[in-house]
Symmetry: C2
C-alpha cells in the first residue's frame, strides 16, 4: 500500500505538506494541493489509521458489547448505533458477551487495547461489577443497566412502569386471576417488571398470590415450561403477564395447543412478533431509539472528554401495544 512518503516523492515535496492537504490543516498553495490530490488519486493512497491513532490517540472506532446479536432484541440496537456513528465516520466493533461477566471483561480489555474511542455495553451487569468498567477513563454508555449514583452514562427504559401498564391492561380487560412469568431473580430488569406487576395488583386491590409467579430465564423454553406449571395449578390463572416476548413465544406454543382463552401480554415488541398468530399484545420498547440515544451520548462524551460533564441517565418510556392476545372478547381461530 502506498504511504505518504510515496505521494510526497511523486510530488517532489515533503510529507508535512502532504499531511496538511490530507487534514485540511494550515495553508497550502492551491497548486501544490491539486498536485497532491492527483498523486493520492493516482497511487490510490489512503492514510494508515494505525499510524494516525498512534499520534492522535483516537481510532475512529468504538466498541459495542451486547449479550447476543442472535437475540432479536439486539440487531436493532446495533443498527441504530452504526447509523448514528457512521455519520461521524466511526466504525463499530461488535462483541457478544452472552451475559457472562468474564467474557464481557475480556472483550472490554481487548477493546481498550485496540484504543477504541468509546464503548457501549448492553445487558445486565451486577452493581459490583460496574466499577471495573467505569474507572478506566474511557467514554462509556451502558444500556439497560441500573447505574444510579454511579459515574456512568446510561440509557434505560422504565421497566417498572412497563410492568405496570401491562398488568393494568389485563385487569381492565376483566381478567381477575393474573399470573406473571418473570425473568431471573438476579436480573434488575426482571425485578422491575415484577414490581410493576405488584403495583397493579395493589392499585386494583387484588390479593397477591405468590404461587402465580413463575421464574423463567428470558428464553422461549422457560416460558413454555412456566406456562405448563401455571396450567397445572389447582386454581389456574385466567391471564398472564410475561416478562419478555421470547418467553411469550413459549407460552403461546403451549396455549395454542390448548385453544386456551388465557389473556397474554408480552414485553419488548421484538421484530416479527407482529406476524404471530394470534397477535401478541406487548409492551413495546423503543429499541432503535435506545441505540440512537446511546450513540449520541457516547459521541458527546468522546468530544468532551476533557471537560467534566455530568453523567447522563436517560430513562425512556415503554408503550403498550394492544393486539389480540389480551382481548377479552378475542376471536381465536
Amino acid at each position: 500500500m502506498a504511504t505518504m512518503k510515496d505521494v510526497a516523492k511523486l510530488c517532489g515535496i515533503s510529507i508535512s505538506t502532504v499531511s496538511r492537504v490530507i487534514n485540511n490543516s494550515g495553508y497550502v498553495n492551491k497548486e501544490t494541493e491539486e498536485k497532491v490530490k492527483a498523486a493520492i488519486e493516482k497511487l490510490n493512497f489512503s492514510p494508515n489509521q494505525a499510524a494516525r491513532s498512534l499520534v492522535n490517540g483516537d481510532t475512529k472506532t468504538i466498541g459495542l458489547i451486547i449479550p447476543d446479536i442472535s437475540n432479536p432484541f439486539f440487531p436493532a440496537i446495533a443498527r441504530a448505533v452504526e447509523d448514528t456513528l457512521q455519520e461521524e465516520k466511526y466504525s463499530i466493533i461488535v462483541c457478544n458477551s452472552d451475559n457472562d461477566i468474564l467474557k464481557l471483561s475480556k472483550h472490554f480489555k481487548t477493546l481498550k487495547q485496540k484504543s477504541v474511542d468509546g464503548i457501549i455495553i448492553a445487558g445486565e451487569i451486577k452493581r459490583n461489577h460496574i466499577q471495573e468498567f467505569t474507572e478506566q477513563n474511557l467514554p462509556l454508555v451502558m444500556i439497560d443497566v441500573n447505574t444510579d449514583s454511579l459515574p456512568v452514562n446510561s440509557v434505560r427504559t422504565d421497566n417498572r412502569f412497563g410492568g405496570n401498564i401491562a398488568t393494568n391492561h389485563l385487569i381492565e380487560q376483566g381478567f381477575s386471576r393474573i399470573a406473571h412469568i418473570r425473568g431471573p431473580l438476579d436480573s434488575s430488569t426482571a425485578e422491575d417488571r415484577y414490581k410493576g406487576y405488584l403495583d397493579s395488583l395493589k392499585e386494583f386491590g387484588i390479593l397477591y398470590d405468590p404461587t402465580l409467579v413463575q421464574i423463567g430465564d428470558f428464553h422461549e423454553e422457560s416460558g413454555y415450561n412456566a406456562m405448563l406449571r401455571l396450567l397445572a395449578h389447582s386454581n389456574p390463572p385466567d391471564a398472564v403477564f410475561v416478562a419478555n416476548d421470547l418467553m411469550a413465544l413459549g407460552v403461546l406454543e403451549v396455549l395454542s395447543k390448548n385453544k386456551s382463552q388465557i389473556g397474554i401480554v408480552g414485553y419488548d415488541d421484538i421484530p416479527f412478533i407482529k406476524y404471530l398468530n394470534p397477535k401478541l399484545t406487548t409492551v413495546k420498547q423503543p429499541i432503535y431509539d435506545i441505540g440512537i440515544k446511546a450513540a449520541q451520548i457516547l459521541l458527546k462524551t468522546i468530544n468532551n472528554s476533557s471537560e467534566t460533564v455530568d453523567f447522563v441517565k436517560e430513562l425512556m418510556k415503554p408503550e403498550l401495544i394492544i393486539r389480540q392476545t389480551s382481548l377479552r372478547e378475542k376471536v381465536r381461530k
Copy 2:
C-alpha cells in the same frame, strides 16, 4: 495508560526485554520474567494495538460487511463469524451496506484504511463490481455472491437445487398449479431459485405459465402484494413457492385472512419462523454454518497470505424442512 516504557522503568530494565516477555519471544531470565509480569499486573498495562499494528502490519481485527443486521438472516452469520474468529483473538467490525454498492465501497475503503487483516462480504454484488474488491490484495471471502472464475474465495448455497426441491415437494404433494414469487430480476440468487422452479416443472412435464411468476424484492410487503396479484389471477394457483421467508410472511398475511388452502414453501428458515402459525414449510439454509465456513476460509487465507493458494469455492446444500403450509391434508385452524 501505562506503556512498555513504564513497566521497563519500574523493573529497571529495557523495553526490549519487556517486549520479549510479552511476546514470549527469545530467552528471558525466569526472575526477570516474573518481575516484568508483576509490573504489568501492577500497572494494569496492556500493549497498544495501534503501535503493534504499525510494525507488524496486522491488527487482529477483520471486517464483516453485510446488507443489514436487522434482516433476520444476518445475525446468525455475524455470530458464527465472531464465534469462530474470536478463538483466534480477532475482533469484528460490522458494517451494513443495505445492498448498496456505494456504501459497500465506502465501508471497504474504511476497513482497508484501518488495516483490517481480512474482510468478509455478504450479499449480492454484480459481477462487474467484484473486481474492485479482489484486486486490493486483502484476504477476502464473499458470501452469497457468484464468483465463478474470479480470484476470490466464496461460500454459497446451491440455490437452484433449493428451488428445485421446494417445487418438487409441492408437486409431490399433489398441487398442480404452482406459482412462484421470486426476488429481483438482477439478483442471481433469485434467478437461481427461479431456475430450480423451472427445473421442477420440466421434470414433471408441467407447462410453464409465466403469468404465475410474480416479482418481489425479498421483503414482506412485496410478498403481500405479489400474493394479492396471484389471487386476482383469472386462473389462480393452488400453491406457491416463495423465494424467501420474509416474502412468505407477507403471503401468509394475506392467506390467513382468506382461510386459504393454498400450499406454500418459503426459503431460508430464518429464526422464529417456526413459531408462526400455521408453520411454514421452507428450504433451510445452514446460516450459522455458512458464517463458520466463511470465517475459517478467511483465517486460512490470512495465515497463508504469502503462499499462492487456490481460491476456495464452497457450495453448501440447503435442506427442505417440511412443516404445515405445504401439506395437502393440512389442518389449518
